[in-house]
């Protein structure tokens, strides 16, 4: 199989990740739930994982790396834990349902939610950002890279606008953590959500929220933390403040190994690898008769060198092809060529509406560390052959 659905999950993972999970399952107890060797081993493993994740994401406060089951849970923690009824929130058309749905929930409770619009190429209207974010705005949410077009947001610009209005900035790094340089502090993010199982290549069931010092997030879930058992509320100290219940220690052991693997491989090198594959695929797709690639791409793809947000791109390319429904195209790629992609709405309804693909859907190709040029070329060859088979 050629796996080109890395924006959904890594699928292939380094052996060290699998070994770490297996070792943890054989040897480790429960972090923070005792002082025997197994429990201490688990606690030390989790602590090292926090440090590795913090280091990889440009965050100097590993004790404020809060683990969660996935980016969705982390985003819910951040949104529901900072916004109150009556607050104003500004998000964007790029946002995933992991952001949109908690915001819709809050809107039903009296929060006021605005969205920075995207145009038919998926480009964000930064002028609208400046108009919508005003004193009194509590939270601004910015998706670092669209999971549909792969375009990259100017997060520093979001931070400047948010902070000028006294708002917090929450960054959704689901498509970039592990795939591109992410420096939370340089970005100016107050909160950053990541997932462990995509470009970081860790196990599913891992992710988390980085909470900058001084930022107050109310716990959405309460329960046991291993400390202060007789207190009625959650502990004030991080990370326990937001970590109720037994941690996914086995998964976090794998995430730790994954973060170490990515750091050793070098995020810059992975980013360059992914960008090269993306340029190669788009250049080829442009030559396939009837193929329509979505998003904001320069005519000269060599400009995509990652040097600025406008010249950067997540390894995600979404397209449709004349004569094919998106679901049929994805099915044919799978059945006839063994190529895994993703059709449908990609949990990004506002972005599909912006692109005009809310009814047709689209087929997403996404690449990762283990994707090679050969895989990209096989996909392009398959698209070419299916294009020739297109029915009127």
């Amino acid at each position: 199989m050629v796996y080109l659905n890395c924006a959904a999950t890594a699928h292939e993972r380094p052996d060290c990740v699998i070994d770490a999970v297996v070792r943890a399952m054989r040897e480790l107890g429960s972090s923070g739930r005792g002082a025997a060797e197994g429990e201490l081993g688990a606690a030390r493993t989790v602590m090292v994982a926090r440090e590795r994740v913090a280091s990889l994401l440009g965050f100097g406060h590993s004790e404020r790396v809060v683990f969660a089951a996935n980016a969705t849970q982390a985003l819910n923690m951040a949104i529901l834990g900072t916004v109150r009824p009556g607050d104003r929130v500004v998000a964007t058309d790029w946002d995933h349902n992991s952001v949109l749905r908690p915001l819709h929930l809050l809107a039903g409770r009296g929060a006021h939610v605005d969205f920075v619009p995207a145009d038919a190429l998926g480009r964000l209207d930064y002028d609208a950002l400046g108009r919508l974010v005003a004193p009194g705005t509590r939270l601004v949410v910015c998706t670092h890279a669209s999971n549909l077009t792969g375009n990259v947001a100017d997060v520093r610009r979001f931070a400047r606008v948010a902070h000028a209005a006294g708002a917090l900035l929450l960054v959704d790094a689901s498509q970039t953590a592990g795939a591109a340089p992410v420096d939370m502090e340089a970005m100016g993010a107050d909160l950053l959500a990541f997932t462990g199982h995509k470009a970081l290549m860790g196990p599913q069931g891992t992710g988390g929220l980085l909470v900058a010092p001084g930022v107050d997030v109310r716990p959405v879930i309460s329960g046991g933390t291993g400390v202060l058992s007789f207190a009625e509320g959650m502990p004030d100290a991080y990370p326990e403040h937001l970590e109720a219940g037994t941690l996914n220690g086995h998964g976090i052991a794998g995430l730790s190994a994954a973060a170490d693997f990515v750091a050793r491989a070098g995020v810059d090198a992975i980013h360059a690898h992914d960008l090269a594959l993306t340029r190669r695929f788009v250049a080829g797709a442009r030559k396939v008769p009837g193929a329509h690639v979505y998003g904001d791409w320069p005519e000269d793809l060599a400009l995509l060198d990652g040097s600025t947000p406008a010249r950067d791109h997540a390894p995600v390319v979404t397209l449709n092809m004349d004569g094919w429904e998106s679901s049929e195209l994805a099915d044919a790629l799978d059945e006839d060529f063994g190529i895994a992609t993703r059709a449908g709405g990609h949990c990004a309804p506002r972005m599909h509406r912006a692109l005009g693909t809310q009814d047709a859907g689209a087929v997403r190709f996404s690449f990762g560390y283990f994707t090679g040029e050969k895989d990209v070329d096989l996909a392009l060859e398959a698209l070419g052959r299916l294009s020739a088979e297109a029915r009127p």
Binding site: S31, R44, S62, V227, S229, F230, A237, Y238, E240
Partner: protein
């Protein structure tokens, strides 16, 4: 095997115990102590300090000076106690 496990009873000894509000802080303390060569180990927080299920750092009294000098500045403790454990 401990003396208690061998059927001989467990002898109490004076210990300096450092309590924390966070497992993370306890582990940070353990690491700093290891790096600084301060003797001791993590134990379940004694109930005489507070009813808690967290971790505490226990060390012989002779290590307290080194701890205060080399480790305490780098950790956030909830309290330091002298106990017979």
């Amino acid at each position: 095997m401990s003396a208690a496990a061998a059927g001989g009873g467990r002898r109490r000894r004076p210990r300096v115990v450092v309590a924390f509000d966070s497992t993370h802080e306890a582990l940070e303390c353990e690491r700093l102590c290891r790096d600084a060569g301060v003797a001791g180990r993590l134990i379940p927080t004694p109930v005489s300090i507070r009813a808690d299920c967290g971790l505490a750092w226990a060390m012989p009294p002779a290590s307290r000076g080194e701890f205060e000098r080399l480790v305490a500045p780098g950790v956030t403790c909830a309290g330091t106690y002298e106990l017979e454990l």
